[in-house]
């Protein structure tokens, strides 16, 4: 049987509640997987081109990763040993929800394990020694904060907040605190929706569409749907913050 969703994070003293479907859509890392390959003509001038790749300058690599997104960057490098999942950011048995919600304010980029090869377009994003698996920076690569995986959640969150606050000019953590409260409300709505939908299925299969119960349940479902939309609108509003333009050192002009 398909497993029920795992129990969410929380302290030992507090009851843990599974996150509902609506919350889960927000509690995930929205990764970008950029691939850069130039198409080269065959040396004999034939029209059939083959794709080649070459190392880009760091500035060009950052620009490609950021695309048109002005959010600060969170760049994770996969590793042949660690894994290709989000484990470099997440820890076992520890509440990772704040990590997910803080990450929403970043452009999250995941690079493949071979990024350290000399011909990889994004090689210059990383140094030559003690190469980190994860770094945070402004969208143009400035203010880079290299991070390794062996760190506490508190330390990780501290660095994320620091970069975010510098990028947005406001306390993003406070926005996350509000979002978490809304998620709890969403979970209650989802749980109630599941119960009501199950009730409708049972009523239909047992008594048919003329069951007196169905009309009332559908009305409740409609109310829940409105409630959910209202909560989602509040959450969306909390994410509608615009990063500040990056100021180049020694310049009065700002990058846009």
């Amino acid at each position: 049987m398909p497993a029920l969703p795992p129990v969410g994070g929380g302290t030992a003293d507090l009851p843990t509640t599974p996150r509902g479907e609506s919350s889960k859509k927000l509690l995930k890392l929205d990764w970008n997987y950029p691939t850069y390959t130039e198409v080269a003509e065959q040396t004999d001038g034939r029209s059939n081109a083959r794709s080649v790749r070459k190392m880009l300058a760091a500035s060009a690599a950052v620009k490609f990763l950021a695309a048109d997104d002005k959010r600060p960057l969170l760049v994770l490098r996969e590793c042949l040993v660690c894994n290709g999942t989000d484990k470099a950011l997440l820890s076992q048995g520890v509440d990772n929800e704040r990590t997910f919600l803080l990450a929403r304010y970043f452009r999250c980029v995941k690079l493949p394990a071979d990024v350290l090869k000399d011909d990889h377009p994004f090689r210059k994003l990383f140094g030559d020694k003690n190469v980190e698996h994860l770094f945070l920076s402004a969208y143009d690569g400035s203010g880079k904060v290299p991070l390794e995986s062996e760190r506490s959640r508190t330390e990780l969150w501290g660095h994320m907040r620091s970069v975010l606050n510098a990028s947005y000019g406001q306390d993003v953590n406070a926005l996350v605190d509000q979002t978490l409260k809304h998620l709890d409300k969403l979970d209650q709505i989802d749980l109630r929706q599941d119960e009501l939908e199950h009730e409708i299925d049972q009523a239909l299969e047992k008594d048919g569409p003329k069951s007196k119960r169905i009309g009332k349940v559908k009305a409740k479902l409609a109310e829940l749907d409105l409630e959910r939309k209202a909560v989602m609108a509040k959450i969306e509003a909390l994410s509608q913050v615009t990063p500040k333009p990056v100021v180049e050192p020694g310049s009065t002009a700002t990058k846009s």
């Binding site: 691939t35 290709g84 394990a113």
Partner: protein, 437 residues
């Protein structure tokens, strides 16, 4: 860059990604010394803590032509995959991860699935036994039992599964390869009826399938190929011809208890969608109810427990036997609690299908299929006739009206019944065929 513009796509149901809560250890230096070590077994029975090293040469065929021919393979790569990129180039762009590529008669398969250790599930065990026998009958190098499926064996099993699903679809629908034009045939656009642009159920290129161990691999491929990052699963039309289905084992495991048979069910569902939506290159004009219904049928024929898409699988309140659709449909029919047939014909958006209607669509597809391949083929021919009206010329509302007109014509000319009569016959089919409990 791998680029593929899309005419239209229907994303696989967005499955939620759950966290794998393993503590990361290790630096790059440690990684270099451990890269060839066998990974610790993961929750789904597969090795997922580190990149598992695949044998560079297939231990079963040794890459030998005679062996490939016995399995019905064209190639183990490199071959063209998408948008001018070869399998080698795709592997490189995916991070040079261990990948196995197999080109069969109708498919191009890329697999980064690692080893899998069966967990003792009875249905899966029975399936594997028959599949291994089927493989061994074609090539003696395979064994009929396996305590663990290594990556190459897993890939061979999936290659066989792809062709098995295709063969079953053709047997069910009455379509066969010789009914479709060869690529570049001179009469492609003039033949009557129009049968698409190529021999793969009307597609000019083989069906492309990517099965990945990790979400990042699928996300990386789909972003490069279609500018859409889908980490769980995706179906997509390929510009220039062909249909793509990609699925990630890591993403599926929470919905299938990590069983490989569950992944197979998802695959069968996705492939059938692609067969129908690309049929005769008709641009997704096959009716949604039939596409969904036959796709469920294909998956349930393997194992009815794993309803990966639709059917209310996400509802946490579902009872343990929620997957037993036959008695549930019977109960709905007895109480006349189902979408009217004519309303069903008009359904155009996947998101608009209530969970319980998936069961109804499955049942009605089963009912239609019970009339035999000739009828089902004729029905599909009529509802896909004319393909998809140009969206630049015909607005969505007008397109839907055209589709409905075709479907109503199929009702009367192929089934010889109006919607009400068809619906009545279906209810009788259900009451006669489905158990009460």
């Amino acid at each position: 860059m791998i680029v593929g513009a899309c005419l239209r796509f229907v994303p696989g149901r967005a499955l939620l990604s759950l966290l794998t809560r393993r503590l990361f250890h290790g630096t790059c230096l440690l990684a270099l010394t451990c890269v060839s070590a066998r990974a610790q077994e993961g929750d789904d029975g597969s090795s997922n803590k580190a990149e598992e090293a695949f044998a560079s040469i297939d231990p079963y065929t040794k890459g030998e032509d005679a062996a490939l021919e016995k399995l019905g393979y064209v190639s183990l790569g490199p071959f063209h995959v998408i948008a001018g990129q070869s399998s080698s180039e795709v592997t490189r762009d995916l991070g040079d991860i261990p990948m196995i590529w197999i080109e069969t008669e109708h498919f191009k398969l890329g697999s980064s699935l690692g080893s899998y250790k069966p967990k003792g599930d009875a249905a899966e065990k029975k399936l594997l036994e028959s599949e291994l026998k089927q493989l061994k009958a074609r090539l003696p190098a395979f064994k009929t039992t396996a305590r663990e499926l290594d990556p190459w064996l897993r890939a061979h099993l999936y290659a066989q599964r792809l062709e098995n699903v295709y063969a079953k679809f053709c047997a069910l629908t009455g379509f066969s390869d010789d009914q479709f034009p060869l690529p570049g045939a001179k009469d492609i656009h003039t033949r009557v009826p129009f049968m698409g642009r190529g021999p793969y159920l009307g597609q000019s290129d083989k069906f492309l399938v990517l099965l990945t161990a990790k979400k990042s691999t699928l996300g990386r491929f789909t972003q490069a190929a279609f500018a859409l990052s889908y980490e769980t699963s995706l179906r997509h039309w390929i510009e220039g011809g062909g249909m793509f289905y990609g699925c990630c084992a890591e993403a599926q495991k929470d919905y299938t208890d990590g069983l490989d048979i569950g992944l197979y069910c998802a695959l069968a569902h996705g492939l059938t969608h692609n067969f129908l939506e690309g049929l005769r290159d008709s641009g997704y004009s096959a009716p949604m109810w039939l596409v969904e219904g036959l796709s469920h049928q294909a998956a349930r024929a393997i194992d009815e427990r794993w309803i990966v898409y639709g059917g209310g699988a996400e509802n946490s309140q579902r009872p343990d036997d929620h997957y037993r659709w036959a008695p549930r449909v019977r109960a709905l029919v007895e109480h006349k609690a189902y979408q009217p047939w004519q309303e069903m014909l008009a359904a155009s958006k996947f998101e608009d299908i209530p969970s319980r209607e998936h069961m109804i669509y499955w049942s009605r597809a089963e009912f239609l299929a019970s009339k035999g391949p000739a009828v089902l083929r004729a029905y599909l021919m009529m509802v896909t006739e004319g393909g998809r009206p140009d969206p630049n010329v015909v607005a969505e509302e007008a397109r839907n009206a055209q589709y409905l007109e075709r479907r109503m014509r199929a009702q009367s000319e192929v089934l010889g019944q109006d919607c009400a009569a068809c619906e009545l016959e279906w209810t009788r089919f259900v009451l006669k065929t489905y158990p009460k409990k």
